[in-house]
């Protein structure tokens, strides 16, 4: 990861954004995860939070304490040291999912759109290597990249007003998992009993950017309130 491949741009006067190009892919995710780990370990003065996205790492600082120019220099120095170190491949996390039925009300629609049968949709989804591109939208919500092209589907024309917690949903080339019940515009193909977010846990989110995810088919139905921590 040569430092010439990254840029640093401000977001207001209390955040610097380190950008690793514009791609959304596993290689970029690994670079972002490694930079996140390095900058977290560096504990630069005045920095209050480090947040990865698909291809950036946001460094949020207290503008009363840190000078953005000095901070920018310190970030570059820290990431240059990263050149020789091997990128962290992330943890492999298995997520049990009950596909179809009440747990995955859109599975049939996805099958119809893609021209596959439902079993084939499940087979493709559970054999793919997914990588957490970022956590966002809601606490603990993972954006997973690596959805097979054969399963690519536009978002629902009309978002659902209520998607149950644990719903596993797809849109475009991504999979997401809803940590709490709420509105959602992706196609729900299954549901997991794993708690994606628990504020009493450290870290509170089950997944981190850079983690690898494998979905494991289980028989449903997943009951509301059922939780595997």
């Amino acid at each position: 990861m040569a430092s010439s491949l990254l840029t640093i741009e401000p977001l207001g006067d209390a955040c610097l954004v380190v950008r690793f190009g514009t791609g959304v892919d596993a290689v970029t995710s690994r670079a972002v995860a490694a930079a996140t780990a390095a900058l977290t370990a560096a504990a630069l003065p005045g920095v209050v939070d480090i947040a990865p996205t698909f291809n950036t790492v946001a460094v949020v600082f207290d503008p009363h304490q840190a000078d953005p120019r000095e901070l920018s220099g310190a970030i570059l120095a820290d990431l240059q040291n990263l050149n020789s170190s091997a990128p962290n491949p992330g943890t492999l996390v298995e997520i049990p999912v009950a596909y179809g039925g009440d747990d995955g009300p859109d599975l049939a629609a996805v099958a119809a759109h893609t021209g596959l049968d439902s079993d084939e949709v499940v087979r493709l989804h559970t054999t793919a290597d997914h990588v957490v591109g970022m956590i966002g939208f809601a606490p603990g919500f993972p954006y997973l990249i690596g959805l097979p092209a054969a399963l690519s589907i536009p978002r629902r024309a009309t978002p659902r007003t209520s998607v149950p917690a644990g719903s596993v949903a797809i849109a475009e080339r991504q999979t997401g998992i809803y940590p709490r019940t709420g509105p959602g515009g992706w196609h729900v193909i299954g549901r997991t009993p794993r708690a994606m977010f628990d504020p009493r846990r450290d870290p509170p989110a089950l997944l981190r950017a850079g983690d690898r995810v494998r979905f494991v088919p289980v028989t449903g139905p997943v009951r509301s309130g059922e939780r595997i921590r």
Binding site: D13, P52, T53, P68, F137, P179, R208
Partner: protein
């Protein structure tokens, strides 16, 4: 354990501090007080650390019963506070001053008026709730932190951490004279006269600024927008001439003060409870020094924007911090 009883909760009263930091990678935004400056000053007035947990009042204040006396301070929007003593006397008390509320008295807060929409109510000793993910603030959307993860309701008993020395006359209402410089309030240029246009909000260009059509960029800086009633702790929503946005491929990081333009073309200025990422183009970001003014922009208030350079934003913020430090030292000397 001392506590304060909630007789009436007001419109939306929550426990807040200066935010929880360090959990963005889990998708947890900062939360905390929307007007952090008023929060800090309220705490300093009663001798607390600036980041102690205090109440954030929205539009209409609560009615609170103090079984045991306590020092309090109300900052931000004035709420026409009145202390009703155990023997039935009603004594109006000013905002921005330390106030002794005697044993068994009730603090009655009214609507936020004439300016602003949020007040901070600090109690000496701080409100004693568990630290969760490094913060004591209430996360209303995820339902954790603060007082049972929710807004206050009638009957709640809010624990207070420790006592501070009562005044000589502990049965009377005491107002300690203190002068808070205007720079340490959300109205640094003084209270706006009725109908007068407040100075524009200072902003830095956002990452997608150049991608906006020229007409949107011009309108953003030339027009006046109006705050709409659907504004909340997650953002201040504006209405005005539409600013057609460019398309955005991916969700990107956002911070408090980020001004997003959704397809409707109507700006949203993100506040404390914002999600950590957003998929709308970011035309600008409010300079930290003007975040308290956005926090106090109530529905119907006019807002306009002006660009500020990074160096200037930083210099002005440093000046304000020096003023705050001098003010804090002065309070310690007088105590």
């Amino acid at each position: 354990m001392r506590s304060i009883e909630v007789a009436a909760p007001g419109m939306l009263t929550t426990l807040q501090d200066l935010g929880r930091h360090g959990s963005r990678s889990s998708g947890v935004g900062p939360g905390g007080a929307v007007d952090t400056l008023s929060h800090r000053v309220a705490n300093l007035l009663v001798g607390n650390p600036a980041d102690a947990a205090a109440l954030e009042i929205t539009l209409l204040g609560p009615r609170l019963v103090f079984p045991q006396g306590a020092w309090v301070a109300i900052t931000g929007a004035a709420v026409g506070a009145v202390v009703v003593t155990a023997d039935g006397r009603s004594i109006p008390v000013p905002a921005w001053h330390p106030i002794w509320v005697p044993d068994r008295a009730t603090l009655v807060c009214g609507p936020c008026a004439p300016h602003g929409c949020r007040s901070s109510l600090a109690v000496a000793g701080g409100l004693d709730v568990p630290l969760i993910l490094g913060g004591r603030g209430t996360d209303l959307r995820s339902g954790f932190g603060g007082y049972q993860g929710r807004a206050l309701r009638a009957g709640d008993q809010i624990p207070v951490a420790s006592l501070r020395k009562p005044p000589a006359d502990r049965d009377g209402v005491v107002v300690v004279p203190r002068t808070v410089p205007p720079e340490l309030t959300p109205w640094p240029t003084g209270s706006p006269a009725d109908g007068a246009m407040p100075p524009p909000i200072r902003v830095l260009r956002g990452p997608e600024f150049e991608a906006f059509p020229a007409a949107s960029r011009e309108t953003f800086f030339s027009d006046t927008f109006v705050v709409t009633p659907d504004s909340d702790r997650s953002g201040c929503r504006l209405s005005g001439r539409a600013l057609p946005p460019p398309t955005m491929a991916l969700s990107e990081v956002v911070v408090a003060g980020t001004i997003q333009i959704p397809p409707s073309g109507q700006p949203i200025v993100l506040a404390a409870d914002h999600p950590v990422t957003g998929g709308y183009p970011r035309i600008a970001v409010v300079a930290t020094i003007d975040l308290p003014r956005i926090a106090q922009a109530s529905p119907g208030a006019p807002l306009s924007f002006v660009e500020i350079e990074h160096d200037d934003a930083q210099r002005r913020l440093r000046e304000r911090e020096r003023t705050l430090r001098r003010f804090t030292l002065g309070l310690e000397y007088l105590r």
